[in-house]
């Protein structure tokens, strides 16, 4: 079977590393990665724990398909209690680190406690050791990767680390691996920093075994054939990346602009996938150099960009001249439309900063957007920003604010708190476009009703990849639903959420689901894991994971009153586009959603539901 059946427990206080057998009873019920790590966290951590205290734990977890031949099978997740939200936090990353961890023979690493001084963990198959990281502390993600490889004389080490944002307590710091792949959301990097853990370096040569190799290769071949013939996964994503959505969502009138004041951005085309392909007038080269793929992926949606060397943001800064991870849709939106900035090169630079220092570009851009609104209405006095003129549309202000946030200096320390705390501090909590403390992604719930329900109920705060109803409401995949109606959205949202929990727990990428349904994934899991994994069992497992996360959040102190949206989304109508005059009608969807979930009217899983799911 494709679990290694082994986890590594690391005690940062005692500086010990020890192997433990994986709880296979839990693995059978929660699969792996997000589901299984959430089970361990729920069992081992008090939900009321201070996320940045030594009592919180940090789990790096792979899934049973991670490191196998399954397409997109390179994923791992970082699970903890999140400092940005106080909810359970789970952030998913691609690249090559996850597969390498599996090759070294580990399904999971659990970090406990807090080290007195900076350390990093180095794993070479069975051998795991904590090593001093004093020389690495204060270094960027990019420097850290290079220094660790040099120290060990092994260019093939795969490394996940925090940058200065994680060290300095930025509440949306991420964990970055392979230079520009990231467990970006929910502030998992801040927890790592609070533990004085700088990096995890892994080299594995043991491979991954599957239960039924013949059946597995047949299922994998069938899956890959589907990806190779589906127009989205074979053409759209490799050619245009996720960035193709900029114009789609803007035309649909659901592109949150200038901190949600508007729903359409006049500069959208200039920051879109189409623009990334065009030659710049300045140097005759396009922003996009090529696409890139994570481990085992046959889609290859990644963007590798190269900034114009003459652009003000990188002039005299050669480290940003090399090709690196370019803009994805969410980053382009947050750094661009949310701040009103339409300078593609500036957005690419700030995206590099996010990778270099380890920050979530969604929360960074959305928080700078909120700061710009606070500044423009006079709530942030000009003398508090250190000379930073935070006006909407200013590429210079965006770049400077991001630099300061990345290194934890000046006004950047305020940005590093996220928009909820920033807006509260300056007396306008309603201007924070967050749910449970986490910033919205790139879809305005006034123009797409179902995604509003998803934001309101997501177990890690506002999020689109917990239940991507956009697929149906906008992209007509697998079936089209009207984005402006609320009817049927409760069931749609639940279905997406439960299926996504399966994908996130299996070790594969959510983007595979533009071509695959659970019936395509089930035979791959069954052949890899052994036993029987019919679609019904997987969907029930997804529902079990969702309810487990909900239970953690309820125990942490959250309740139905937190399943809501900002006043702007519920009261201020969209000004333009198909949703002109409309707000989000969450009140029509939420009771239906609780009912569909088998929860009480107060949003609590009923005893019957918990029994059905064996929770």
């Amino acid at each position: 079977m494709s679990w290694t059946r082994k986890l590594l427990r690391v005690d940062l206080d005692a500086r010990t590393c020890g192997a433990e057998p994986l709880n296979m009873e839990w693995a059978e019920r929660y699969i792996g990665q997000r589901g299984l790590a959430s089970k361990y966290l729920s069992e081992e951590v008090d939900p009321k724990v201070d996320p940045l205290s030594p009592a919180n734990k940090l789990i790096f977890a792979t899934g049973p398909l991670t490191g196998t031949a399954a397409s997109t099978g390179g994923r791992y997740s970082v699970v903890t209690k999140g400092p940005l939200t106080g909810t359970i936090a789970c952030s998913n990353s691609g690249g090559f680190f996850g597969a390498e961890l599996k090759f070294a023979g580990w399904d999971m690493i659990i970090f406990e406690g807090r080290s007195e001084e900076p350390l990093y963990l180095c794993i070479e198959n069975d051998r795991a050791q904590l090593l001093p990281a004093a020389e690495l502390w204060g270094r960027s993600v990019w420097e850290t990767e290079a220094l660790i490889r040099k120290r060990h004389g092994d260019p093939q080490l795969r490394i996940a680390s925090i940058g200065r944002a994680g060290e300095t307590g930025c509440l949306f710091a991420g964990v970055v691996n392979d230079l520009h792949r990231a467990a970006g959301r929910t502030g998992v990097g801040a927890v790592m920093g609070a533990k004085n853990l700088k990096a995890v370096a892994v080299r594995g040569t043991l491979g991954v075994k599957v239960a039924d190799p013949k059946a597995f290769m047949a299922a994998v071949a069938e899956g890959k054939a589907k990806l190779a013939t589906n127009p989205v996964t074979s053409q759209g994503l490799p050619t245009y990346g996720t960035q193709v959505l900029v114009n789609v969502i803007n035309e649909a009138g659901a592109f949150p602009t200038r901190n949600g004041r508007d729903v359409q951005f006049e500069g959208a085309r200039r920051i879109s996938a189409e623009a990334m392909h065009e030659k710049r007038p300045t140097d005759g080269k396009p922003n996009l150099l090529r696409n890139g793929a994570c481990f085992g992926c046959t889609i290859a949606c990644g963007r590798i960009s190269q900034i114009d060397r003459g652009h003000f943001s990188v002039k005299d800064k050669p480290r940003y001249w090399e090709p690196s991870g370019g803009l994805e849709y969410e980053a382009a939106w947050a750094l661009g439309a949310a701040t009103g900035v339409d300078d593609l090169e500036a957005l690419t630079y700030v995206n590099y900063l996010c990778n270099e220092h380890g920050m979530d570009p969604i929360t960074l851009g959305a928080t700078i957007g909120a700061a710009m609104e606070l500044y423009e209405i006079g709530a942030i006095p000009a003398n508090e920003t250190g000379g930073l003129k935070l006006t909407f549309g200013s590429a210079e202000a965006l770049c400077k604010a991001a630099e300061l946030c990345g290194t934890g200096e000046g006004f950047g320390r305020e940005i590093a708190l996220g928009s909820k705390r920033l807006c509260e501090k300056y007396g306008h909590p309603d201007l924070s476009m967050t749910v449970k403390g986490q910033e919205f992604p790139a879809y305005d719930p006034r123009g797409i009703q179902g995604i509003g329900l998803e934001y309101a109920t997501s177990n890690r705060g506002a999020c689109h990849v917990r239940g991507y109803t956009i697929s149906s409401e906008i992209l007509a995949t697998p079936v089209k639903t009207d984005p402006l109606v609320t009817e049927g959205k409760a069931e749609l949202c639940k279905a997406f959420q439960d299926a996504t929990a399966v994908v996130d727990s299996a070790g594969i990428c959510l983007f595979s689901t533009f071509a695959w349904g659970i019936p395509d994934i089930a035979p791959q899991i069954e052949a890899a894991c052994g036993g029987k994994w019919p679609v019904e069992r997987l969907i029930e497992t997804g529902e079990r994971i969702w309810n487990l996360e909900r239970k953690f959040n309820l125990a942490a102190g959250f309740s139905a009153k937190d399943d809501t949206l900002p006043k702007r989304i519920l009261k201020e109508a969209a000004k333009t586009g198909p949703a002109k005059g409309k707000v989000n009608r969450l009140h029509e969807m939420l009771p239906e959603y609780y009912k569909a979930r088998g929860w009480t009217a107060d949003g609590i899983p009923s005893n019957r539901t918990l029994e059905r799911l064996a929770l």
Partner: protein, 83 residues
């Protein structure tokens, strides 16, 4: 009458002469249907996955009966996705 046509992603190459960025102004007859416009632009039928008129999605079965009005904005994409 004039309408605005916007073609994106791999359909960009079907933009008529005189287009700027991803859009062009196109002269059409008063009674022209959406489907007729798509045909006139030479867009492969199977690649017109998302067709929006003034931002609202038009199902494939309705494209023949939707009649264009002056200053309509028609936007078309092949099957794309992101996240």
């Amino acid at each position: 009458m004039l309408v605005t046509v916007k073609l994106f992603a791999s359909l960009t190459r079907f933009l008529p002469a005189g287009a700027s960025g991803n859009e062009a102004r196109v002269e059409v007859e008063q009674t022209m249907s959406l489907e007729s416009l798509i045909a006139r632009l030479g867009l492969p039928h199977e690649q017109c996955h998302l067709v929006l008129v003034n931002g609202a999605y038009i199902e494939p079965s309705r494209r023949a009966v939707v009649v264009l009005r002056p200053e309509d904005v028609i936007a078309v994409w092949p099957n794309v996705a992101g996240g």
